[in-house]
Symmetry: C2
Subunit: 418 residues, 2 copies
């Protein structure tokens, strides 16, 4: 099969324009129709998914990965997710910054869709439907490029969606998928700047780097989180332990999980053993600096950290521990080794809280809470298309509003510039 | 001379961090000191500028261009511009979207500097100081790369600024200039993604394309405006004529000047001759479609437009005129040939106004006003660093707020994710 990316781009741009004519009610109706259609086509979707899983098994994918790819248990949640998006407020058309200038010119800004969004992601087929729901809700056309492991599942899901779109008079090219996972089409997508307005990569570091290096379209970089918690001597250690435990073990495979624990040296002798004991129960292994080794009693799951270990996003049950003399050293470590994703301080000292909030320049900066809250759903956005760790357009969790831009509307009565 | 871009990048990043410790008062003081120092060093600056102008003359630059490069008359305005920025509100530190989530987690966003900004511009030395004032006011470090025609002027200006920074305890590397105009350093700047957070090109189409094609850093594309006005049959023609005249002739060399006039055919026989007559007085030449030629009586300054002429940003006293049957055709023309910069409708019909505001997706969409208002100063931003015609981060005129990003501040009392 050959894929003509120019045609896909052109169709997406036309569809994006056609989408402008549908109001929130119409968009919500089509989303409910999509949920319905997914429910009715459950068998077709699951049998495509079964084929993907069988091939994955043949190719030696781990059980954990196969679990993530499976829609058997996930499909109900996926369908519910579409219905949840229906209930979110539609940012498109909202007006703000209204003003009348001294010369009488009336100026305001109106939220409008971005246009065409390219989303490049790996593995999980639930992302396919999540992204479709969020982009349709904001009147954006989307070009999807999913991973090869779930190609059949994705094709089945997208076909079901396009049927629902067509039945409701929506442009079917509002949702297109690149049905060939050859990486050359990713490259071609990144160069479609005539048609595509924004690229969202969702995947590992190498995908983000590839997009940044090759795209002529603005890219939302993100999703890589080397996350830190600094525990100072004023912290309530039982509370701190519960937070560290949660941040590391509640879901170790995700970007907002804890990677490195920084402990003030005055409490290291007490707190490091507490952490090792508690987290060992959850099978965590530790990479610790030399000073911390004094407090770990040569436990089998503790080893000395190498110099490069502070720069690794573990995505696993591994925790780095480093003993630092004071807040400045903690901030310095975070500035040197962090990815500006999610970093926090556990303290009872107000001045330290303030300094940490001021001086740590991460997308999400925490006081006395687990880093696991960096998530659109958790922070009240209702849904999330990505977590941005770059500084333009949006930072941190991106919800519906971050899938829009604005235009200036300027109304005069014959105004000319003097 | 060799330029070490890695060192420039590293120094800028360090300076950007140091800038965080200065509050609005300190920043305003240093801006006033810069204005003062520019005033005191007037002679050194103007003599460097004279050398640039002499070389420009030798190299055969036009009088018009030399005029733009000259600081003799402009320097007072440049200094005043710095003082004007002092009086603008500082967006850094502003907090918004405060909320307490049902679980008690306190969430808010705080405006913070973007970090390090690279600005690549051509010719005019006043841009050097404008950019410095805006970036310092927002606590950003800047790396400047100006045009070769005013290299000596720019070096003189930047040196004066750095002296003022040093006297006030500010990091001098908050303002750096690439003192070699070899284009290879532009390329190197565009690849400094470890140090630079945003690139703002200010120049022609080829500069913007070069940046988009080669940058690994987010680029604010903009400044290219193929601008349209559509005059329909309900418009007050005298008012429309004044607006068309203003949009085309008030400053033809800039991006928000009118390029193509679209006239509804029912009034073409009356309005086209009015336009040609009035604008001919200002030496405007016309490129018109075949239908319009019927109303121009073979005037010497009117020629038939070629197919490509609708896609040219004239930046000169040239106006395209095209006769269209109705609003749909006008919108279709703007969608096909526009650059989504500034486009307007001149009409008395409310339904047409609404449709135009809804369906034309440009950074600035006008009703009954000149396109010349697309300008940070004119639209109440106080100052402007660029005009964005892309859709991410900022759209249209960019002022101080658009030189900031935000971070999420999340304060808990031992919160863990269930």
């Amino acid at each position: 099969m050959t894929v003509d990316m120019q045609t896909i781009g052109k169709r997406a741009k036309i569809a994006a324009r056609q989408l402008q004519q549908f109001d929130s009610t119409a968009k919500n109706q089509v989303l409910l129709a999509i949920a319905d259609e997914l429910n009715h086509q459950r068998e077709a979707i699951l049998s495509a998914n079964t084929l993907d899983l069988e091939e994955g098994q043949k190719n030696g994918l781990t059980t954990a990965l196969l679990d993530r790819l499976s829609l058997q248990k996930q499909l109900d949640g996926v369908i519910q997710g579409v219905c949840d998006v229906v209930n979110l407020p539609d940012p498109v058309g909202m007006e703000f910054d209204q003003k009348t200038l001294p010369n009488g010119l009336q100026v305001r800004k109106r939220r409008v869709p971005i246009g065409v969004i390219g989303v490049i992601y790996e593995a999980r087929p639930n992302v396919t439907v999540d992204v479709i729901a969020l982009t349709l809700k904001t009147s954006n056309a989307v070009i999807l490029r999913g991973g090869s492991e779930t190609l059949r599942s994705n094709i089945a899901l997208v076909n079901v969606v396009r049927v629902a779109l067509e039945k409701h008079g929506f442009p079917i090219d509002a949702v297109q998928m690149i049905e060939d996972t050859d990486r050359k089409y990713v490259y071609e997508l990144l160069r479609l700047s005539n048609f595509v307005d924004m690229i969202i990569p969702r995947g590992g570091n190498s995908l983000h780097t590839f997009c940044r290096e090759n795209s002529t379209i603005p890219v939302i970089t993100g999703g890589i989180g080397i996350c830190h918690l600094y525990v100072d001597e004023t912290a309530d250690l039982e509370t701190a332990l519960a937070i560290v435990h949660n941040a590391k073990t509640q879901r170790p495979s995700v970007c907002n999980a804890l990677d490195t624990l920084l402990v003030q040296e005055t409490i290291a002798a007490k707190f490091v053993p507490m952490v090792v004991k508690r987290l060992t129960e959850d099978k965590v292994r530790f990479k610790v600096d030399e000073q911390a080794t004094h407090y770990t009693n040569g436990a089998a799951n503790v080893e000395l950290a190498g110099a490069g270990d502070w720069d690794i996003e573990w995505l696993d049950l591994i925790l780095g521990i480093r003993v630092v003399p004071h807040l400045d050293a903690a901030i310095e470590h975070i500035q040197s080794h962090g990815t500006a994703h999610s970093d926090g301080i556990l303290t009872q000292d107000l001045a330290s809280m303030e300094r940490f909030l001021n001086e740590v320049d991460s997308a999400a900066v925490y006081v006395n809470a687990s880093t696991r809250f960096t998530d659109g759903g958790q922070l009240g956005l209702g849904a999330e298309i990505a977590i941005s760790t770059q500084k333009l357009h949006a930072r941190g969790p991106m919800g519906l509003e971050e899938l829009t831009t604005y235009k200036w509307l300027i109304v005069g009565q014959g105004h000319v510039r003097p």
